[in-house]
């Protein structure tokens, strides 16, 4: 049945401005005690003492809660645990993450950590979902206004400063699908060059010797180092670095073993 939406009272009842004025007056009296607004820079919802004072609870016009922990604000980056896997940069729909070198890596393979341009960031949280180590996470920090546009670019060090403030970090970690694809090796193509193992951010690729087949008469064995990568599947974060560095394109995504 359709709900009745007919007005209860007719439009031309005498002097109907009384009702709205009474409503406004009621609101006036209510807000004389305490208006629903908060004086923002001085009172903050996330401040426990303020919440205690105004007894914020659900249904109260001041709000149903603090800044919740899964708020998607400025990122916090723990440089120490970052493995430079590039997954955050890959998953960014706005291309606002750039991997920049930070001091601390070995000179041959410098350590790279995300630098985020908040002028472009859409705060979707895909990077923090993608981070396999949980070192890049969004925090409850929401104030980043600045008079200078270049200050919107947060270097890894600046993101690490956010991390050091111990703000609440996004508690939600997404589970990986069980049938997740894994890195597979097209063995006949492999030349055993060690590039994948060298660049693997989690060091889950080890090169193992493969037996060199004996050459049959008339057949020429390919020139290669007789080693093949073996991937420790439980450690692999599926960043695809090995695929991108492989010179022979012999690594590819395959189904779960």
């Amino acid at each position: 049945m359709a709900a009745s939406t007919e007005p209860k009272e007719g439009p031309n009842a005498a002097f109907l401005i009384v009702k709205p004025m009474a409503t406004a007056a009621r609101q006036f009296v209510k807000s004389l005690v305490r208006p629903s607004t908060i004086v923002y820079p001085f009172e903050r919802l996330e401040d426990p003492s303020f919440r205690e004072e105004v007894k914020v609870e659900s249904g109260h016009p001041i709000g149903v809660g603090p800044i919740w922990d899964n708020y998607r604000g400025v990122h916090a980056l723990n440089i120490a645990t970052c493995i430079s896997c590039n997954l955050c940069a890959f998953s960014c729909p706005d291309l606002c993450i750039e991997m920049v070198t930070v001091p601390g890596g070995d000179p041959k393979h410098p350590k790279k950590c995300p630098q985020i341009d908040y002028g472009k960031c859409s705060y979707c949280g895909f990077c923090s979902d993608a981070c396999p180590e949980g070192c890049l996470s969004m925090t409850t920090r929401y104030e980043l206004s600045t008079p200078n546009r270049s200050e919107m670019i947060y270097s890894p060090q600046k993101l690490h400063e956010v991390f050091e403030r111990k703000l609440p970090m996004n508690p939600i970690r997404l589970e990986r699908p069980e049938n997740e694809d894994a890195i597979r090796l097209d063995a006949p193509l492999c030349i055993g060059c060690n590039a994948c193992s060298r660049d693997c951010p989690t060091s889950c690729i080890t090169m193992v010797d493969t037996p060199k087949p004996t050459a049959k008469p008339g057949e020429k064995l390919p020139r290669r180092i007789w080693k093949e990568p073996v991937i420790n599947d439980s450690d692999c974060v599926r960043c695809g670095t090995c695929i991108s560095v492989c010179p022979k394109e012999c690594l590819f995504w395959g189904t779960h073993p």
Binding site: M21, A25, Q27, F28, S31, P35
Partner: protein, 366 residues
């Protein structure tokens, strides 16, 4: 004109000048005293207007479940000065095709014509500058200059929105002048005088709001239209006309309009207090302690004025804006008859010399 013809504050000033500078001729003393008194009036009205804006912001804030201005000065009292300063620093742009004289002269004349009325309105006994037997009429006449200036500035800003706003403004003000004047006639009939001081002193026993309740309603509605406040703010209906007739104005010229609007709001509230709510007097049965402290007259006058303005704010917080044709229809077809009825009531009261509820009242009529 001699010194003796002045009294009240102006006389005080003149006396002071004559005491301090005894060598000055009396006519010069009078002129200086008038100028000084004018400056005091200007300052008083300006400060009152700005406080009025603050008052509206705070009140409207509470009606809207928020706080209003609160950071500059105590409880935001200085916020308007800060806003004014900002507007003062701003560049004023004139549209290329706009007419200079009207564009700049309109707001100035609007402002000046609003300020002039303050020289006429008695605030308390011993305040006003001389007795004007027709002060009420003069005040209303100056008050009704405004549509002309608004239309002038609207027309000369060469903007379609401004033009429409100016047209609406003129139409609405003319439509509401008539019921206002008729309602005032009711008051005049009851008090027997056009002098505001006399009108107030005639209300020493009871306020004219009681017998002339209809006239009060008409007058309040008419004043809302004259001040262009919600629900009658169609000339500057920001939803369709951007800012109505002051669309093209920025910076200090906009501040002029803004200030003049609130000046007129203040004048409207003062007129309502003077005509219907007993001015600076309280009814005679009120304990004497309430009326005998120094400056009691001004105090009660201000309290009443601000309460009346609070009602305007209340209306603004709870009613939407009406449409032009509805406004005009209400003005001509409801307000005018109501005002006429109230004139009849006033005449009946005067004729009977008695009020059925309050009993016989001495000192009515001629």
């Amino acid at each position: 004109m001699t010194v003796q013809s002045l009294y009240g504050v102006a006389a005080l000033v003149a006396g002071g000048i004559a005491y301090l500078l005894p060598f000055l001729p009396p006519w010069l003393v009078t002129i200086i005293a008038d100028v000084v008194f004018g400056a005091i009036l200007l300052a008083a009205s300006m400060i009152n207007t700005i406080v009025l804006i603050w008052y509206e912001r705070k009140l409207l804030g509470r009606f809207m479940d928020r706080r209003g201005a609160m950071h500059v000065g105590y409880a935001g009292l200085l916020q308007n000065f800060a806003d004014g300063l900002k507007l003062f620093r701003k560049n004023t742009y004139k549209p290329r095709e706009a007419d200079s004289l009207g564009f700049y002269g309109g707001p100035t004349a609007y402002m000046v014509s609003s300020l002039v009325i303050f020289g006429i309105l008695p605030i308390s006994t011993g305040w006003d500058n001389g007795s004007l037997p027709l002060s009420l009429l003069l005040a209303l006449v100056i008050f009704s200059f405004a549509p002309l200036f608004i239309f002038l500035s609207a027309w000369s800003s060469n903007n379609k929105y401004s033009l429409m706003g100016g047209m609406r403004s003129a139409a609405q003000m003319i439509a509401y002048e008539v019921p206002i004047l008729i309602a005032v006639v009711a008051v005049v009939v009851l008090s027997g005088s056009f002098d505001l001081t006399t009108i107030v002193s005639e209300q020493r026993n009871y306020w004219f709001a009681l017998p002339l309740f209809l006239a009060l309603i008409v007058f309040v509605a008419g004043m809302l239209a004259e001040m262009e406040r919600i629900p009658f703010d169609l000339p500057e209906a920001e939803a369709e006309l951007v800012e109505g007739w002051n669309t093209e104005y920025g910076g200090m010229l906009f501040a002029f309009f803004m200030l003049a609007d609130y000046l007129r709001a203040l004048i409207g509230s003062i007129l309502i207090v003077l005509l219907f709510l007993g001015g600076w007097t309280l009814p005679s049965y009120v304990p004497a302690a309430l009326t005998s402290f120094p400056l009691a007259g001004i105090f009660w006058f201000m309290v009443k004025t601000y309460l009346v303005f609070g009602v305007f704010v209340w209306v603004r917080a709870s009613l939407p804006r009406v449409r032009t044709d509805q406004l005009l229809r209400v003005g001509w077809m409801r307000m005018v008859p109501l005002a006429l009825v109230s004139v009849l009531i006033a005449a009946a009261v005067v004729a009977a010399h008695c009020l059925p509820v309050l009993g016989c009242v001495p000192g009515l009529g001629s």
